[in-house]
C-alpha cells in the first residue's frame, strides 16, 4: 500500500510528505477542460443551477483570457493533461475512525489528528478534490460558529455563499481565477458571528495524492463585527513525474473591529504549479494578519491581497519563501489602502538555494482620499550559494501625499565568516548553514503555532540534510 519512492536520484527524501497512496477513487473526470466536464463536476455535486451557470461562465472567461506572460514560465503547464476533479473513494466523515485506513494514515503522518486533539478547535481534511473529514468542537457551534466544507455550506447556507462567493476574487481577476471558478471543489467555509472570539485555531489541510491532477479548493471566511479567528491552512502533495496544478482561492471578509489571522504553510512537491489567489477585504478598524510559508512546488505565484476598505483597517504580513533546486517561487503582497488612517506592515523573507529562484513582488496602492495612511515594508533575501537567485520588485502607487511610507529591501548571500564562526565551535558546515537559515526565519517561526514552527524547522532541516558534499 505505502510507497516511499524517489523519482529522481538527486531528489531529497522529504519523508512523510512524499508518501504516496495507491490512486483509488470513486469518480474522476477526464483530463482537460470542456463545458461537459464542468457540468459533470457540478452534477456530481448536486449543485444549484446558479452555481452550474457560474462555473460555465467562468469557463468562458478562462478560455477568453491569455496565459499571463509576466513572472515565471508556465509553458510546461498543459491544462489538457490535468484531471480537474477526483472524488476519493469515501464520503465525508466526522470521526477519524470512519476515514479509510490509507487516507487516515496519511493525515496521521502529517500530524493532523494529533494537532486536532491538542491544539485545534476544528479540523477539515481534504484529499484530492473532496473533504474527507470535518469536525468542530461543540462549544463553537453553540456560539454560532460555522465551519463546514464548501459543498455542505452551499446546501446549508446557500444565500450567504451566493452573496459572497467569488465576489472578492471574481473569475475575471486572472486566468487561473477563472479556471478556479469553473472547476473549484472542496475547501472550507467559516462564519464567526458578531463578537465571538475563537481563541483556539481552526485548521484545514489540503492533500493532493493523485498524479497529474489539479486541486481547486475554495476557502471563504467571514469574521463578523468584533469577532476574532485564527485559521490555519496546510497543503502538501507527494512527488510524481507529471505536473500537478493547485489553483485554490481564498476570500476573507473581515468586518468592523474584527481580527482574522490566516496562517498557511504550503509544502507542495516539486512537480506542482501553485497558482493560488488569496484576498481579504477589511472594514473599519478590522485587522487581517497573514502568516505565510511557501515551500516546495515547481512554480508558485502567490500574492495575498489586502483591501483596506474601512477607516483604521490594518493589514500585517509575515511571509517566508524558500526556493531550492528547480524551483521558481514568485511571491509577494498586495495592499490597497482605500480608506484614511489605514495601516499595513509587511515583513517578508526569502531564501534561495541550489539554483532556486525567489522573487518578491510587492504592490502598494493608496487611494486619493486615503489620507493619513502608514505602510512599512521590509524585504530580506538570503542566497545560500552563487547559483541561486533572488529579486525584489516593489511597486508603489500613491494618489495622495499625506502618507507615511517606509521601505527597506536587503538582498545578501550567506556569510562565509558567519559559517566559519559557528564551525569554529564544533558545528558542522551543514548544521551551521541550517542554523543561520533558522535564525533568519526566526521572526516568522515565532509567529507560528508551535507545531507549525516545528514543521518549518523540519522543512529547513530536510533541505540541508546531506545536501552539502
Amino acid at each position: 500500500m505505502m510507497e516511499r519512492k524517489k523519482t529522481y536520484i538527486e531528489d531529497i527524501d522529504r519523508g512523510i510528505y512524499d508518501i504516496k497512496n495507491e490512486f483509488n477513487y470513486l469518480f474522476k473526470t477526464e483530463k482537460g477542460l470542456t463545458p461537459e466536464i464542468v457540468m459533470e463536476i457540478s452534477k456530481a455535486k448536486n449543485e444549484p443551477k446558479w452555481m452550474t451557470d457560474f462555473r460555465l461562465k467562468s469557463l468562458e472567461i478562462y478560455n477568453s483570457m491569455p496565459m499571463p506572460t509576466w513572472g515565471p514560465d508556465l509553458s510546461d503547464l498543459n491544462i489538457d493533461e490535468i484531471v480537474t476533479y477526483i472524488k476519493p473513494n469515501t464520503d465525508m466523515k466526522n470521526s477519524w475512525d470512519d476515514v479509510p485506513e490509507d487516507i487516515k494514515r496519511t493525515f496521521e503522518l502529517l500530524g493532523l489528528p494529533q494537532a486536532e486533539r491538542e491544539a485545534l478547535a476544528g479540523v477539515g481534511a481534504q484529499y484530492d478534490s473532496e473533504v474527507v473529514y470535518h469536525n468542530i468542537r461543540k462549544e463553537l457551534t453553540d456560539l454560532g460558529v460555522v465551519y463546514l466544507d464548501m459543498e455542505t455550506a452551499l446546501i446549508e447556507y446557500e444565500d450567504i455563499i451566493r452573496k459572497y462567493f467569488m465576489t472578492l476574487v471574481p473569475p475575471t481577476a486572472h486566468k487561473f481565477a477563472a479556471l478556479h471558478g469553473a472547476v473549484w471543489s472542496g475547501g472550507s467555509f467559516v462564519y464567526v458571528p458578531e463578537g465571538v472570539k475563537v481563541d483556539i485555531p481552526l485548521q484545514s489541510y489540503f492533500r493532493l495524492n493523485a498524479p497529474g491532477a489539479g486541486q481547486f479548493e475554495h476557502t471563504l471566511i467571514i469574521v463578523d463585527k468584533g469577532a476574532k479567528l485564527h485559521f490555519i491552512e496546510g497543503c502538501s502533495a507527494p512527488k510524481y513525474n507529471v505536473n500537478n496544478l493547485h489553483a485554490g482561492c481564498v476570500e476573507l471578509f473581515v468586518k468592523d473591529n474584527a481580527t482574522l489571522r490566516y496562517s498557511t504553510i504550503e509544502n507542495w512537491s516539486k512537480n506542482m504549479y501553485n497558482l493560488n489567489t488569496k484576498r481579504a477585504i477589511v472594514d473599519k478598524n478590522g485587522t487581517i494578519e497573514w502568516i505565510s510559508g511557501s515551500f516546495g512546488s515547481k512554480v508558485t505565484m502567490l500574492y495575498p491581497m489586502s483591501i483596506l476598505k474601512g477607516e483604521g483597517a490594518r493589514a500585517e504580513y509575515t511571509t517566508i519563501t524558500f526556493a531550492s533546486k528547480g524551483q521558481h517561487l514568485d511571491t509577494g503582497t498586495k495592499v490597497v489602502h482605500l480608506a484614511p488612517h489605514t495601516t499595513s506592515t509587511i515583513n517578508s523573507k526569502s531564501i534561495s538555494k541550489d539554483g532556486g529562484y525567489a522573487f518578491y513582488r510587492g504592490l502598494l496602492k493608496v487611494a486619493p482620499d486615503a489620507y493619513g495612511c502608514k505602510s512599512t515594508v521590509s524585504c530580506e533575501s538570503l542566497m545560500l550559494d552563487n547559483e541561486s537567485k533572488s529579486d525584489t520588485l516593489p511597486m508603489i502607487e500613491l494618489n495622495n501625499d499625506n502618507i507615511d511610507i517606509g521601505h527597506e529591501a536587503k538582498i545578501g548571500r550567506i556569510s562565509d565568516e558567519a559559517i566559519f564562526y559557528l564551525m569554529s565551535r564544533g558545528i558542522s558546515e551543514e548544521e551551521a548553514k541550517a542554523m543561520i537559515v533558522r535564525g533568519f526565519v526566526e521572526p516568522i517561526t515565532k509567529e507560528l503555532p508551535l507545531e507549525y514552527a516545528v514543521e518549518l524547522n523540519n522543512l529547513i532541516n530536510i533541505e540541508f540534510e546531506g545536501s552539502i558534499g
Binding site: D416, Y421, M423, S424, R425, G426, I427, E429, E431
Partner: protein, 251 residues
C-alpha cells in the same frame, strides 16, 4: 610522557595568493601560556585563523601537529572537536539564534552528548556570573547588538563552557576597559590547568600582567624572530617594534 600539545613546523600560508606566513615555527607544551606580539600586518591573525582552519587561509607548506596528529586538512569543526578554540577579534553577529541555543548545539557537537536542559541552564548561569555577564544575555541573539566588551566576554563564556585544550585569544583585550580585562583574564586563568594551553595574541601588556605567560614571541613579516619572557613584552611596551624591525630588516 609526551607533553607537546601544538607543534608548528615551517608553516607557510597564503591568503588570496599572497604569502603571509613565511616559514613559522612554534611549539606549545601542555599547561603553557604563549604570547604572540608583533606590528600590524605581521601575520598574527593569519596564524590564529590558520590554526582554526579558515578555508581562506591556504597552507602551502609545513605542518600543524596538534595533540599528536597532523591537522593541516581538518575543517574548523573537526579542529574544535579536537580541542582548539579561537576567541575572535571581531565575533560574528548571528540573527535569530540565542546564545543559549547556540552553546547547547556547540556542546552537543563537541562532546557528542546532548546536555540536560536544566543542568545546562545552571552551568551557563554560573559561568555567566563569573564573567559578570547579565544572565539575560543567554536568551539574546548571538552577539546581535552586543557592545564590543560584551562580545569579548561572550567569547570567553563560550571558551569556559567548551573547555578547549588550546585556546587562542586573538586580541581579546582590544577595546576592553581595565575591569573587563581583569574579568577576561580571570576567565582564562580558570580554564588553564596543567593540560590546557593558551595562545594569546595582543598588543598590550595589561592582560599579560594578569596571565603571567611562559613565553613571548615576536612575529615579524610572517616569521617568529625572537622568543623570550615577560621582559620582551616590557621592552616592546617601552620601545615599540622599531629596534626589532631594524635588526631583522634583511629577512
Amino acid at each position: 610522557m609526551n607533553n607537546k600539545l601544538l607543534s608548528i613546523k615551517n608553516l607557510r600560508v597564503n591568503v588570496d595568493e599572497k604569502e603571509i606566513l613565511k616559514g613559522l615555527d612554534l611549539e606549545i607544551n601542555k599547561g603553557e601560556i604563549h604570547v604572540i606580539m608583533g606590528p600590524n600586518g605581521s601575520g598574527k591573525s593569519t596564524l590564529a585563523y590558520t590554526l582554526m582552519g579558515h578555508p581562506k587561509y591556504k597552507i602551502v607548506d609545513g605542518t600543524i601537529e596538534f595533540d599528536g596528529e597532523i591537522i593541516n586538512d581538518l575543517k574548523a569543526d573537526e579542529r574544535a572537536k579536537k580541542g582548539i578554540f579561537l576567541s575572535f577579534q571581531y565575533p560574528e553577529e548571528i540573527q535569530g539564534i540565542t546564545v543559549e541555543d547556540f552553546l547547547r548545539t556547540a556542546v552537543t557537537s563537541v562532546t557528542g552528548k546532548i546536555p540536560g536542559v536544566m543542568a545546562f541552564k545552571k552551568l551557563l548561569k554560573e559561568k555567566m556570573k563569573l564573567l559578570e555577564m547579565n544572565e539575560e544575555y543567554a536568551s539574546r541573539y548571538l552577539n546581535v547588538g552586543f557592545s564590543g566588551g560584551e562580545k569579548k566576554k561572550n567569547e570567553i563564556l563560550q571558551m569556559s563552557i567548551l573547555e578547549p585544550k588550546l585556546a587562542i585569544l586573538d586580541e581579546t583585550d582590544s577595546g576592553l576597559d581595565v575591569d573587563a580585562i581583569r574579568i577576561v583574564a580571570e576567565g582564562v586563568k580558570r580554564i588553564k590547568d596543567e593540560s590546557r594551553s593558551i595562545l594569546v595574541i595582543t598588543h598590550y601588556n595589561k592582560l599579560l600582567d594578569y596571565l603571567k605567560p611562559d613565553y613571548i614571541h615576536i612575529l615579524l613579516n610572517g616569521k617568529i624572530v625572537k622568543t623570550g619572557g615577560m621582559e620582551l613584552a616590557d621592552e616592546i611596551d617601552k620601545e615599540g617594534y622599531e629596534n626589532i624591525k631594524l635588526r631583522f630588516a634583511n629577512i
